[in-house]
Symmetry: C2
């Protein structure tokens, strides 16, 4: 490959040489995918018509380690189905996978930020590497609409140029050694001719049933019924987003880092809300609502405290056309909002305990890559803030709340978590100690924090003077002991990551908006012939709803049963009941479980109770399966040599540890440098080190230390204090409220 640096100017010069005309370059925010791109364009240039978004994919086929890589670069319309299996067959290459960052960098050396910046326009050359296959979608190269223009990036995903299909073809060919070296591919034909289509867009209906009704889905409908395009094991991040969007949990929004919570996800949050709210009310907690705005004066009351989250605070500076005298912040969290009023309201020991909770949204304007549910600029949560006369009462509440958080995960979301205490480095630095429920994402082998319950000690009460006269005469004024605790919509993301599969979402019955879908099957041609089946489905729906089950009969016409199966599988409905003429005759229905695809007939008599029990069983089986997986990946390790291999095998480590701050930093550094030693040729992104996740309260599950009381810390050799979970973390959580200390991460 030539060593020339390709800049935007290089590209424009190339176009100019080829006498290709183009309009002005459109600048916008960086985009990660076609939907974001489309949204950006519609904002930047709302008047544009006849524009097609494209996608640029770089694949790596399996080759011997020593062989020269033969990467495959594909430019296709966003809407074109580009199955790696079919491309591999077409090129006679094995096991195409999306390329690693390293390979991307070798093909596009000047890429600035991420794979999102890939563009065929910025290829090195001419000539381009002869081992590089370049495939161009026929519907671009030979676009039937002369007016149609295709959106391509220049050297970054934040700029767009619009080109005609034939011009793109000329441009790419001009970069090849032969001036004619790219391949024009008709992907639709590729698919049609494939002997056994691996593209799973429409699943065939079960063979034993005769399907005669024709699918009448339109192009519009198809948009919502494309199968998940990524494998969970192969491109976890792509899979995650795809599942959320196609499962209708979320939709993109035209402000980066913000997402729409559609009913499919919001209903889960409501179920969590209702359950948790009832439970905390039993503990005497009351709900309230504080304004979303915080005055500068309040936010800055404690200069030390503002520092940590100041970079992420969103500021309102204008109302209508009037500049505000002072900017006003949108709450990133409510300590400085609420605690001045605690000081006002708490005047006597009789005013304690004060236990308030809020359901609201907070804003943290992060500039890192957003991730749905896990890192969003606005997110929903509850924040509990309580004040007690005695430390013992406060301590007890910390654990009571943690137990509720645990149940939200285990009982509602069917996600196993391990309760424990955060290390000094990882605790909420505003408080005395932090407890947490830690989850695990098997696909990535990473830990993820579920929710945290903090004891703040008297740190805030002294800062805000939340104090009362001692009930015992002669004693000094007493400062309240405070707790705070939070659970956010990130819990939904964890649930999706743990349970979802290559077909889409898998929802636990307790939180699914729709627990059961009833699908009519065995339909015949001819008007009115299927009415008895529809009636039976509607009757079944009524019966289930009457039994308190969230059931729905899918009586939409114009879709095949197979299409419907696929649709509801993608959306994760826990149980499908199929009902056809033979089922009706047999007074039975075929029950298909989403989480393991198990099929079994179910008698229609007493169906309400049967389904109820079946759903309970699905709920506990989903939990048990996830629990077993977590357990099997929770590996006590005594010898340092086992640390990195165990991590690399996607496990969580359980280490004998001294609980020292410096030692924790050392473990992270040491495991990181070892993990990355000699990994360069493996096309992998650098691996993270292991950080402490929590010190589990249940130490006994890991048994006694092999060396008993003399057990040494695996890193420093000092006396070990506890088994402690260490691992890679799903992502570095957003900082919230960081008084002075550096490592504080999260309030939620």
């Amino acid at each position: 490959m030539s060593g020339v640096t390709v800049t935007d100017s290089t590209i424009l010069e190339r176009l100019s040489k080829l006498q290709i005309k183009h309009d002005e370059i459109i600048n916008h925010s960086a985009v990660k995918n076609g939907q974001e791109w489309s949204a950006e364009l519609s904002i930047s240039s709302p008047g544009l018509n006849s524009i097609s978004i494209t996608k640029t994919l770089l694949f790596k086929p399996k080759t011997a380690k020593t062989a020269t890589p033969t990467p495959v670069l594909v430019l296709a319309k966003e809407s074109t189905e580009t199955s790696s299996g079919l491309i591999g067959k077409y090129l006679e290459l094995k096991e195409l996978r999306l390329a690693s960052e390293d390979l991307i960098k070798s093909v596009f050396p000047e890429i600035k930020n991420s794979k999102d910046d890939i563009s065929v326009l910025s290829l090195q050359g001419p000539p381009i590497d002869e081992n590089l296959h370049v495939l161009l979608d026929k519907s671009i190269a030979e676009s039937e609409n002369q007016e149609e223009k295709f959106a391509l990036h220049l050297t970054e995903s934040s700029s767009t140029i619009l080109l005609k299909g034939q011009d793109i073809k000329s441009y790419l060919n001009s970069l090849t050694p032969t001036n004619d070296g790219i391949k024009i591919v008709d992907f639709a034909e590729l698919k049609a001719n494939a002997p056994a289509p691996s593209a799973p867009a429409t699943k065939a209906a079960p063979k034993e049933k005769k399907e005669e009704a024709k699918p009448a889905a339109t192009a519009d409908d198809d948009k919502y019924n494309m199968a998940i395009q990524y494998k969970k094991d192969e491109d976890f991040s792509g899979w995650y987003t795809d599942v959320l969007i196609k499962g209708q949990m979320l939709d993109y929004y035209d402000i980066s880092g913000c997402y729409i919570l559609r009913p499919w996800s919001y209903s889960i949050w409501q179920i969590i809300q209702n359950w948790f709210d009832d439970e905390i009310k039993k503990l005497g907690v009351q709900d309230c609502y504080f304004p979303m705005f915080v005055s500068n004066a309040r936010l800055e009351k404690e200069k030390d405290h503002i520092e940590g989250f100041a970079p992420e605070v969103a500021w309102v500076t204008r109302a209508g056309k009037s500049e505000l005298e002072e900017p006003i912040a949108i709450r990133p969290t409510s300590e400085t909002v609420m605690y001045p009023y605690y000081a006002k309201w708490i005047n006597s020991h009789r005013d304690l305990p004060l236990k308030l909770n809020q359901w609201n949204s907070v804003v943290r304007w992060e500039f890192k890559n957003p991730q749905p549910f896990l890192r969003t600029r606005e997110f929903l949560w509850q924040e509990g803030h309580t004040a007690f006369l005695n430390k013992a009462e406060a301590d007890k509440e910390v654990m009571d709340i943690l137990e509720l958080y645990k149940k939200v995960y285990t009982d509602l979301l069917a996600v196993p978590v391990i309760p424990g205490k955060k290390s000094e480095n990882e605790k909420f630095a505003g408080g005395d100690y932090t407890t947490t429920v830690e989850g695990f994402i098997p696909t990535t082998g990473r830990g993820i924090q579920g929710a945290t319950s903090h004891h703040l000690g008297q740190n805030f009460s002294k800062m805000f003077d939340i104090s009362v006269e001692s009930p015992n005469k002669g004693e000094d004024r007493l400062h309240a002991y405070q707790n705070s605790w939070g659970l956010s919509t990130r819990s939904l993301g964890v649930m999706v990551m743990v349970h979802g599969d290559d077909q889409g979402l898998v929802l636990p019955p307790r939180v699914a908006l729709q627990q059961v879908v009833i699908v009519p099957v065995g339909l015949s041609k001819g008007e009115g012939k299927n009415q008895p089946i529809y009636d039976a489905c509607a009757q079944l729906e009524r019966e289930l709803i009457g039994a308190g089950i969230r059931a729905k009969a899918d009586l939409r016409e114009g879709y095949t049963p197979g299409w419907k199966f696929n649709d509801w599988e993608m959306r994760g409905v826990p149980l499908r009941l199929e009902l056809g003429p033979r089922d009706i005759a047999a007074k039975s229905t075929l029950a298909v479980r989403r989480y393991d695809n198990n099929k079994s007939p179910m008698p229609l008599s007493d169906i309400g109770n049967t389904v109820k029990k079946y759903l309970d069983d699905i709920q506990s089986s989903m939990f048990n399966r996830a629990q077993e997986k977590f357990d099997s990946c929770l590996i006590p390790v005594i010898n340092w040599d086992d640390v990195v291999p165990t991590l690399d095998a996607k496990n969580i480590l359980v280490l004998p540890w001294c609980q020292g701050n410096q030692c924790e930093d050392d473990i992270k550094e040491r495991s990181k440098s070892q993990a990355n030693k000699g990994q360069a040729e493996d096309n992998k992104a650098p691996s993270a080190g292991a950080k402490s996740l929590c010190i589990p309260f249940d130490q006994e599950r890991f048994g006694k230390f092999p060396e008993g009381e003399n057990q040494k810390c695996i890193q420093c050799g000092e006396k070990a204090k506890s088994w402690t979970m260490f691992g890679r973390s799903e992502y570095e959580l957003p900082a919230t409220y960081i008084p002075q200390k550096k490592n504080l991460r999260v309030l939620y």
Copy 2:
């Protein structure tokens, strides 16, 4: 009085002549009361210590109409109790009342905005009017702390000067004819010496019960137990705020126009939420959550539509220290946020109806005087947005939702409302028609809009292209028919205004966080002696809670029963059960209803059921009382001459009306000018005209038109189309979304 205009400079010159030193003048936002003032000072000058906020009150005693008025001006510390009754007795003047705006203007001719600008410093003179009594709080004039400074306004409530007590005394005396004409008053002594204290701070316990436990309330406690300081009939606005703050519904916040919803009010909102959410789910509506942020591009998509609410939009322009590339708005309402996604999601007639609802908060940065619940810069609401294939379905939903809104008022809040249709002038101009439930505040004789349900027709669906192919082949694409409907926390304000009384809040049982308070009475001295009574109260609490009643035993020590009675009355708890030794012996409890103070013994056996029925009875009695009042103030008027007198008697008019826009304007103008004719000497603010409130769906309740089909419109003489409610309105509601047309008011 001298005719000199008193400006800030005048005051500073006067101070200078008297050689009174002072620090720099502090400028801040205008304030309405001591709490706001205090908050402003803490922001503007956070370092200040030893400062006392003051209050300046102007009273008018009852005098013959022809007599010269002898107003009374009081300057006191904010915390000093200044009962008008005691001042009257002290000065031997009758029936002191807070002065009207006109009287204020005659004493302080240069007052700029409102009574909040009153300051003793800006008195006309020297000399001041000899008929003006000037009273100075002894704790100011003879402040014991030499460092203490008192905050006074100059000529506006947005500026503050800090002066020592003795300097204030000198200043005021220098303005009197004798140089010694002001009266120094020890208000505490005044109160202590009063033969029968009219200050209702602590209500005596019922006489038949022996009270021996001494009140041990501290000064801190007293702050929360002051009785309501305004009479509902005399100073409705002062009463309203006082009741909300002291009843612990709200607290002030340090950002003007924002209030804290404390559990006492938020719980009511939650009860409304739960009930309403269940009901709309039965109608097939699903909840979701759209981001609070709106891009400039979206908000401005329809330039015509942004105009109406643009002046109130809050803009985020900065995150951390980074200026955003484009400012981002906080949603003032969600049409332009949601409808682009409706266009995306609705692709086939099978996607209709789409029925989404959001529970969120919206921001409208109004610059008018805020009013708790009724006009706040951030408020909580639900906004429903639905789309249908057919108009008939949409029409039906408009009415279904309106019926639910009616029930929220009548069944939950015990507030009568009248469902009807808005006039063309008053409808939501973005839609085809607006339906409403209209309430009534008897104290002011004004109507108040409760909630609105709009049919938007195809206006928005055409704007945003929310369309589907017709299910009938060959037909054009169909644009959806849309509705939107909203109910906000203003409903809580209406409830307080309707039911509250001079003792404080009166809450309907169905929405009260605490339905029953149990108070131990007949207590004796001596440790442990009262334990059996406390035990009985706790037992009663358990029994009631077991029966599903929100009950609480007030076992706080150190407060007398009388103090507790007063406390819970102020907070509006519907039912008080008193339990003492004699009650226990008689297996009975004394039940006292909050809303009418009715007292009756209640047997303890089967108390759960008895109380339940009793609460139901209270609920319906409260509603019936309010309904009767509303009915009696709903006056059909046929002759124009009766219009203004009927309005002035605090009624709502029911007029035969032609439904013409111009005619509506004329009615407003004509009634306004007549009402204000010759009213100048009556010390009254100018009266508003009558606007149309709604065209009640139930026309028959008003009987047939006297002239039958020939009935003429009361204003223009054209044919009358309907009985229509006209009246003064509680306040001009905040504009929300005003496409072009001028008179659109509210979406909620």
